[in-house]
């Protein structure tokens, strides 16, 4: 499972990073916590992202699973990691649909491995659609209240 979905050559893989894709297979959280040298980890929807906080500086890839697009736990996992200073690749994998890309980007995801390929043009349009956002999140966007008051 992990080998297939972390392969950036997969159709529909979207990545918003300048560094080279990480090619080490992601291991489960349990496996990661049980060994010392893995640099890529996969979080299931119910895994506690905070368990990774002591290890952020040696992680290059965290893959967060979305078993169903309606399962929104991964959004919080992403923010928890970004808020703690994680700067490596944060990948949403699974039932990721074009209409979820924007909130996922705002929560800090910077790569996407959807099970069904996402049309590039539709994706670009979806990501560019909103110029302003009301709340501060894990992206660099200035919220509307900041724009209003400086």
């Amino acid at each position: 499972m992990a080998e297939l979905t972390t392969n950036p050559a997969d159709a529909g893989f979207l990545r918003f990073r300048d560094d080279a894709p990480h090619d080490e297979p992601a291991v489960t959280l349990d496996a990661f916590l049980g060994q010392s040298n893995a640099t890529a980890v996969r979080l299931e929807a119910g895994d506690d992202a905070r368990a990774l906080l002591p290890y952020l500086d040696r992680l290059a890839l965290v893959e967060v699973s979305f078993p169903k697009f309606r399962d929104g736990r991964g959004y919080s996992s992403a923010r928890v990691l970004r808020e703690a200073g994680y700067e490596g690749e944060l990948r949403a994998q699974g039932d990721v649909l074009v209409d979820q890309l924007l909130p996922m980007r705002r929560c800090g995801f910077d790569s996407f491995a959807p099970e069904a390929p996402i049309d590039q043009a539709t994706a670009q349009a979806a990501l560019a659609r909103y110029e302003h956002f009301y709340q501060r999140a894990a992206d660099p966007v200035q919220p509307v209240w900041k724009l209003r008051h400086g």
Binding site: G72, S77, A125, A126, H132, Y134, Q135, R136
Partner: protein, 543 residues
Amino acid sequence: MYKYDEYDRSIVEARIAEFSDQVARRLSGQITEDQFKPLRLMNGLYLQLHAYMLRVAVPYGTMDSRQMRMLGHIARTYDRGYGHFTTRQNLQFNWIKLEDTPAILRELATVEMHAIQTSGNCIRNISSDQYAGAAADEVTDPRPWAELLRQWSTFHPEFTYLPRKFKIAVIAADEDRAAMRLHDIGLQIVEREGKLGAAVYVGGGMGRTPMIASLIRDFVPFEDFVSYLEACLRVYNRYGRRDNMYKARIKILIHELGADEYRRQVEEEFVAVKALGIDPPQAEFDRIAAHFAPPPFEQGLSDAVDRSDPDFAVWLDQNVKAHKQPGYAIVNISLKPVEGIPGDASADQIDRMADLAERYSFDELRVTHAQNIVLPHVRKADLYAVWQQLVEAGLAEANLDLIGDIIACPGLDYCSLANARSIPLAQKIAGRFADLGRQRDLGELKLKISGCINACGHHHAGHIGILGVDRKGTENYQLLLGGSGAEDVSLGKITGPGFSEDGVVDAIERVTDRYLAERQQGERFVDTYRRIGMEPFKEAIYG
């Protein structure tokens, strides 16, 4: 009231483009119904029994006359000439075509309206006290707090796919007119040492497992307000149940964790969240609050009202409430005529109410959670003229908070989730108690009907509640007594075996007869029930 600036406008415009694109992708088959459903729900679009239904947001129940007229226009142009005001202060249209929704949204946007997050597993329309800004008993106007939350919750990226829907109510008075403690989060703005902040109640709700919200924090000052709510939601998003949609509301999480453990987790999360700088500055609160400055009330007006017309006097006593400004009053327009459908208003009535608001109420209207309309700021000298025009429009039913002022969900006449019809039953009950003198003798009696266990008709919170169920293909109605959605919040208890439609009307009459026989001086129905308990009523019903 709040007016959009360029940012608000740009966000709503982008939303129209986004949703129009989603509709186009659905109509062309690029996305399946399964994929489209959560997207359309997040824009208030359901597929109901007869057609699509569009729920339009009325943030904290406040509208001006242009917005109200736009609802009338949409009813006439895209629907079948009427709309239905809901228990969360919104309005829904029952006969919408999917292909028309982009045009409807564009029309709504011209008056700063939308359907954003009126359904779906996200933070819904923020509801509030329909007397905000007018009530004599409020600490402050709660609507700036509600507007702040509207903005915070709109397209919140982390909380768009919550375990289940999430409802927030904000009040600022001890009298609770918004069923605050029956919300996922209920906020009461209070003053402490000269500073305003929120008492935060979490985990209330109706549905199949009704619960009353627990006090999680007694005071959150403005500077921590958004952070604290973000922490409340994050704990829910991470740990709310996703294995069973019937156990996915935050009330179940709090029930399973216990309020103390939930509070501990929120406080821990709050420490992390507070450091992120997500709280808007005081200047933003002040900017929003300026939109809710009191209208230019005339000073020195008389409080005298000519009561010589007896019908007017009855309406005055029943539907008109005290205003904080001398010489003014709050007018309630009941949408519960005896033969009518609770909460429905025709396009013409919608226009008439808009006209009255423009002329007599500083251009403001409110929608109430009891599915009525409020003109919040009417000069007492104008009350008689307003009443006369309401009479002409068929909107002068003087039954506010009486047994005829029934909350009812659309039920099986419209709703695909319903098990039984609600509206015909509401009409039969209203018919049985049609005599206004009899209703007034019974006094405050909140009767609430839901056509299924989802409890959209608030049956758990009715002094008398009715739950429609499907018993082997036949509509059957359970009777509950003793609930309240007000500051004396409580959950009703089922009397016993259910009834047919006619049977439940008879049972209600036996209940009210027993109340009249038992009541002591000054007791409302629910007070008597609380004093004497269920047994005397059971005996009256089942013999």
